[in-house]
Symmetry: C2
Subunit: 431 residues, 2 copies
């Protein structure tokens, strides 16, 4: 049995230095758990001349990835550099050379997971990627192992900390989207270019990974319907509250007997739902299984040490497999072919807020359109508007197909009495 495991680290940014910190701090405990010492032999960096604290006396820095992928001494490659295409080719080369992989890269796993798994199956290598979804929350192994005997029906995730921070601040302080985004950028909770977070792409990648695992079907990022939180208004947050709901950016993956739908969109959740109490930059994944019922996994979705914890826990699993001779056995091919629901088949409740002219027959015109598409309502609020002769209407529907709702919406917008449709969101809970 190998008593020393040699690691090559790709990337020495925030997470990379967190990995080194945890490996140093928890040296004894890791040796106790795995029976092995862990040595970081080489670290790939962009700029060799940048001054940095070296992680250990025997650790060398390199700017050539081949020094890691082709080094016969290296057992495990830990990838925390990010990026997609170039990183994929590096990892494929590492796998070809028999290296096991631990990665925190959701972009890569969401887009090229299947390719990496296929390559690793050929050479009997492990790929672990717990840190790619919800940072420090061990959600991937909970789905793979903890709930392995169950049939998962639904996963709802607050899997993007930046947007949850923004929405929490908007809700609690009544500050508008642009101001909170600016503040979040200053505090380091949001990137200078917040697109991937704010427009939902980051969350969509994580939901792709969770859906593949939870439903055992080969999904792609393209299967996810994505709508971000840009332009979310304080009015909607207030009306939602009045109606008993909290607005969150939720990734929802559902599997009933007829098919699957996966989406990321601002969603009204009942304020009593466990996810409604997940504030600030925290993440949580709510999982509903046929047998287990409701479970939720809560914790930090990002950050240096939480993410590094997930990476090192994966590294420990990989080392155990090396010592036990069970490498490359953890991955199970998706069991089912993919069945994505059409928009006609997708049934959800909707929240709609619109400005209408206060004129006779207005409500009748609208209700006639809704009735045509069998759309009925759970709650309706009508309020005075700041414009004279206008009214603000807020409605929550019962379940309706996405297709029918889209048709009703476009007919609605043709009505002369409808000044504008302000917002439309998904609603969860109730009938």
């Amino acid at each position: 049995m190998k008593n020393t495991i040699t690691v090559g680290l790709l990337g020495l940014g925030t997470v990379g230095s967190g990995v080194i910190e945890i490996l140093n701090d928890h040296k004894e405990s890791i040796q106790h758990k795995t029976g092995s010492q862990v040595t970081i032999k080489s670290v790939l960096v962009n700029d060799l001349n940048k001054p940095r604290e070296l992680p250990g006396e025997t650790t060398q820095l390199t700017d050539r990835y081949e020094d890691i992928t082709r080094d016969p001494e290296i057992d495990v490659v830990v990838e925390v550099m990010g990026g997609i295409d170039h990183t994929l080719s590096i990892l494929l080369e590492a796998i070809e050379h028999g290296k096991h992989i631990v990665t925190a890269n959701k972009d890569l796993m969401a887009q090229h997971g299947a390719e990496l798994f296929a390559a690793s199956q050929k050479t009997g290598c492990d790929i672990y990627y717990e840190a790619s979804v919800a940072g420090g929350i061990p959600i991937i192994r909970s789905i793979i192992d903890g709930l392995s005997s169950d049939r998962i029906r639904k996963m709802m995730g607050i899997v993007n900390g930046t947007t949850n921070y923004i929405m929490t601040k908007m809700t609690q302080d009544g500050t508008d989207f642009d101001s909170v985004l600016k503040e979040a950028q200053e505090l380091g909770f949001a990137e200078a270019d917040p697109t991937a977070d704010v427009d939902g792409l980051d969350a969509a990648r994580k939901m792709t990974i969770l859906s593949i695992l939870g439903f055992s079907m080969p999904f792609n990022l393209e299967d996810v319907e994505v709508k971000g939180i840009r332009g979310l208004s304080l009015s909607d947050i207030k009306y939602a509250e009045e109606l008993g709901y909290t607005i969150k950016l939720i990734g929802i993956a559902e599997n009933d007997h007829t098919g699957v739908s996966v989406s990321v969109e601002p969603t009204l959740l009942p304020s009593t739902h466990p996810l409604s109490s997940v504030h600030n930059e925290f993440n949580a994944v709510y999982v509903y299984g046929d047998a287990v019922g409701e479970t939720m996994f809560y914790g930090p979705g990002a950050g240096k040490l939480p993410t590094a914890t997930a990476v090192v826990s994966d590294l420990i699993a990989v080392i155990k497999n090396i010592r036990l001779g069970t490498s490359g056995k953890a991955y199970v091919q998706p069991q089912f072919s993919k069945q994505v629901k059409t928009k006609k088949e997708q049934l959800t409740k909707k929240y709609i807020r619109l400005h209408v002219l206060d004129q006779p027959g207005m409500l009748m015109e609208m209700t006639t359109i809704f009735a045509q598409y069998d759309i009925s309502f759970d709650q309706i609020i009508q309020r005075a508007s700041d414009q004279d002769k206008e009214r603000e209407l807020i409605m929550i529907t019962h379940q309706v197909s996405e297709e029918d709702f889209a048709k009703a919406q476009s007919e609605l917008q043709e009505l002369s009495s409808v000044r504008r449709v302000d917002s439309i969101f998904r609603v969860e809970g109730g009938e």
Copy 2:
């Protein structure tokens, strides 16, 4: 490799029939995940003549445990019959005959876990026991695997569904303890003899198991300070709310650099704490790690199918180990020797409610005692009492040692101005 795994089931009560149901319902998925078919060959029952639906055509019922422990065809023994001493001897015999064990038995694991592990190490058998703590929540494997790279500092658990149900009803409906207990018994949420739940013993067993795993030290049930919820009053629930807290029966296991304390007691939690939103019969375990920070695992703590899900997920892990030839390797001996804090070393905040005579010098007498023991206060409420000339005092202290507080309390009770001390609880959060 074995393509069929043969199981002996000890017990055919609620959880036992749940296990059979899940194995039948998820046959294909389990075969996909493990590469094996699972057959239940024999089931141990008390009464062979009781009419029941047989779980499968090839399954036989027996009232002799040796038919299972000594059957060379049986690979795994699944224990869902409960009990301690007799069950221990049966499982030890099964292990001696090379059977792997999956058990849902917290009483047994809290008291005799070490003995079972020692025996299983000799014969290279697995012991899995996820269902023994918090039913359907995969908390044990989250601690063992998911957080394996971290140093766990604190675990707080709502790990008894019965008491959480009772306390939720008391809080939400304002119904007193005895009435809610009676209602819970009628609804099947509480046993006819509720002692183990209401007096905290059940929670203490679970906290013993979590503490062994989380801190890697060999704790016993006797190391846990236990105080139940019997006689919890509505007044305390109301005052707690007024002070910004929610009262829950919480198991708390803490490990700072100087030692460990493990307790189960009614505790005031800040109402904003994630555990404060865990209602009814739900369970949750909050884990604080040095690196990961705050995480929480939420779900059903009991019930037929949730518990059976945990049992069958364990069975899947055992089967994977059998097929991979890695049985008996999952268990890691506690790394550290046990360091339990003395009462002098245990620092907590306290809530105290008492009735005092409204007479001059009363408050001075009391504060003199508290000052002697360096006890200072975070919040104080004084209210009129229903008795003339009496006042009700509610105080929350800053951190104080258990020993000092006990001394102050007994001196307090000697004062002529103190009519009675109504209640004392632990307080979490703040300084």
